[in-house]
């Protein structure tokens, strides 16, 4: 949906594309990287992709509103909390396994 507004030269499509790109990069990282930290970071990327979408829509959406930006603020906070917990857990497992590799999470199987 190419929906151009006279004020902003940047077309919405490209912003959404940016979001999608970020999302995919994040997803790829989350699925492939060996190191837990990188995986967490990739997940951050995905959340931010969503944020970009929200902000875009709140300005250039079908019927723009502030809700999107508010939403993104919430998201950022939540993401921060998530990462905090993530790092805590990472430390815990590092203490126990002396490794932060995703592959070493293999106690539970079958």
């Amino acid at each position: 949906m190419a929906l151009n507004s006279p004020v902003f030269p940047i077309p919405t499509g490209s912003l959404l594309a940016l979001g999608a790109l970020l999302f995919c990069i994040g997803l790829f990282g989350a699925l492939t990287r060996r190191n837990l930290i990188i995986v967490l970071v990739s997940i951050e990327l995905m959340l931010n992709a969503a944020n970009i979408n929200l902000v875009t829509f709140s300005r250039l959406g079908v019927n723009p509103s502030l809700a999107g930006q508010v939403f993104s603020l919430f998201t950022i906070t939540v993401a921060a909390a998530e990462i905090a917990v993530g790092l805590a857990l990472l430390l815990a497992i590092f203490r126990l396994r002396k490794s932060s590799e995703v592959h070493d999470l293999n106690v539970h199987k079958w």
Partner: protein, 491 residues
């Protein structure tokens, strides 16, 4: 100061009652926990239980209340009341469960208020009608449960379970959020009521985006509900977490997720029902089949319960798939079947986890052989476990059978009998492993090397409660069905 007075008299205090009570209790407990650092601090759990009970009272009060809403965000309707009540009952049972952890295997004290925060999140998911609050509630629930799973910091199992849950959960919520962003984008609002107004046009103008949004959100929910193929974290997390927490994950977080899913479906997607709900049906079928078959060769008790909970989630998803084929006047029966089965499922699952916990604590083994001769070691536990298992397998005169039957009747009346057939056929498969446990339970062992199973007071209470509720719901389903019947569902 009059203005203050009528500010205090605003209806939304009442509307958000349960949520507020839980949150306040949570903070209170947190503070107290900081103050009293040492000694046996199970009285904190006591306080939390008290808070839960108060909240429960308030929530029950809502049944009689007329539907209304506060701040365009939180609503009271039969929907929210039923789910709030269920959530609060569940957390009460779980708290009771946690009382059994003391002495050497005491849980880190945080678990008490973490549970309460998670509950607050769950309540938000059940009661709010705004994407933002729904999302925040979901995250509150999830993040607390990540920590809860990993609550035993010194145990690899626990922490690894936590991390796996966390990674998958985060992934899920990210995708969910991405989907929400699209829905917001084409409607320009996050409020469900406005969304439901806009839904029709939304779909006609941007069908594919709507459906994309739906599928992405379904994916996110799918993780919480551990639907196949998003279920794979389930056994690991359940096996890793302490049994109390596993039961919490299996029941409370699923209830909340179902509530949220139902909310979203009804408000946003019911306009496009026939287009999207079919996929829910497919998911349900796959989930039932895979969940039951994968459980067949399981020996680890908690993993088996995890898979069984996967299968059960599949059963509960069936009515969701039916909404597509239904008209508004069919909804009450769908809601009833969903909520009835959720109640039944909660009681039998918590009970089963409790028994498994007791047995594994005594034998220090999670292998199902630990159950051998249980009937001699502790007849009461054996009978209780049999009742839970038979109820899950769908033996009549237990809650499980009626729940299944109700769902099945719905599939028949809404022209999707194949789902019902899959439901019962797969539950025949499930006989094999549920009754497989009972075979071990009733297996005869030489009297000599048998030690009676010690059972603490809270556990005894818990198991008794679950047994009673399971049987009562089976024998006198009216106790639950008729209140549901009287509730006016749609806001």
């Amino acid at each position: 100061m009059p203005s203050a007075i009528n500010w205090l008299q605003q209806p939304y205090w009442m509307t958000m009652g349960p949520l507020l009570v839980v949150v306040i209790t949570a903070f209170l407990v947190m503070v107290l926990e900081l103050i009293f650092r040492n000694g046996d601090r199970r009285w904190l759990t006591g306080i939390s239980m008290l808070g839960t009970l108060i909240a429960l009272g308030v929530a029950l009060g809502h049944f009689s209340a007329q539907p209304n809403q506060a701040l365009n965000t939180v609503v009271i309707d039969a929907f929210s009341s039923v789910f709030s009540v269920l959530i609060l009952i569940t957390v009460f049972l779980v708290l009771l469960f946690t009382l059994d952890y003391r002495g050497s295997n005491r849980l880190a004290a945080e678990h008490t208020y973490l549970l309460l925060f998670a509950t607050a999140g769950a309540l938000a998911m059940a009661t709010s009608v705004d994407l933002v609050t729904l999302y925040v509630g979901l995250e509150l629930l999830s993040i607390s449960s990540y920590v809860l799973v990993a609550v035993r910091r010194k145990s690899v199992h626990s922490v690894e379970g936590g991390i796996k849950y966390m990674l998958m959960g985060a992934l899920g919520s990210a995708v969910l959020l991405y989907g929400m962003s699209f829905i917001y984008g084409i409607s320009g609002t996050t409020n469900l009521m406005e969304l439901s107004a806009a839904a029709g046009t939304m779909f006609t103008t941007y069908p594919s985006i709507t459906v994309l949004g739906f599928v992405l959100m379904l994916f996110g929910m799918g993780f919480k509900l551990s639907l196949v193929p998003f279920h794979m974290w389930t056994p690991d997390a359940y096996a890793g977490a302490p049994s109390a927490i596993s039961s919490f994950l299996a029941t409370l977080s699923k209830t909340a997720a179902f509530a949220m899913l139902l909310r979203l479906l009804l408000f946003i997607f019911n306009g496009v029902a026939d287009k999207v709900f079919f996929w829910a049906g497919i998911l349900a079928a796959i989930t039932m089949v895979v969940g039951n078959f994968i459980a067949l060769p399981q020996r680890n008790m908690k993993r088996l319960l995890a898979f069984s909970s996967v299968a059960q989630a599949g059963y509960i998803l069936v009515p969701f798939a039916l909404i597509g084929a239904s008209t508004v006047q069919d909804w009450p029966s769908l809601f009833d079947s969903i909520s009835f089965y959720l109640f039944a499922y909660t009681f039998m699952t918590v009970g089963a986890f409790a028994v498994v916990h007791i047995v594994s604590e005594q034998t220090h083994s999670l292998d199902s052989d630990a159950l051998i001769g249980l009937f001699q070691r502790s007849p009461w536990l054996a009978v209780a476990l049999s009742i839970f298992m038979l109820s899950m397998a769908g033996m009549p005169l237990t809650a499980g059978f009626l729940g299944k039957f109700y769902i099945f009747a719905n599939t028949v009346q809404l022209h999707t009998p194949w789902l019902g057939i899959v439901l019962f056929a797969t539950s025949v498969v499930s006989f094999f492993y549920y009754l497989g446990w009972l075979r071990k339970v009733f297996q005869r062992e030489p009297e000599g090397d048998l030690v009676a199973v010690p059972i603490s007071l809270p556990m005894n209470t818990l198991v008794t409660l679950c047994v009673v509720l399971t049987v009562v719901l089976g024998l006198v389903p009216a106790t639950l069905l008729h209140p549901l019947l009287s509730a006016h569902w749609v806001y």
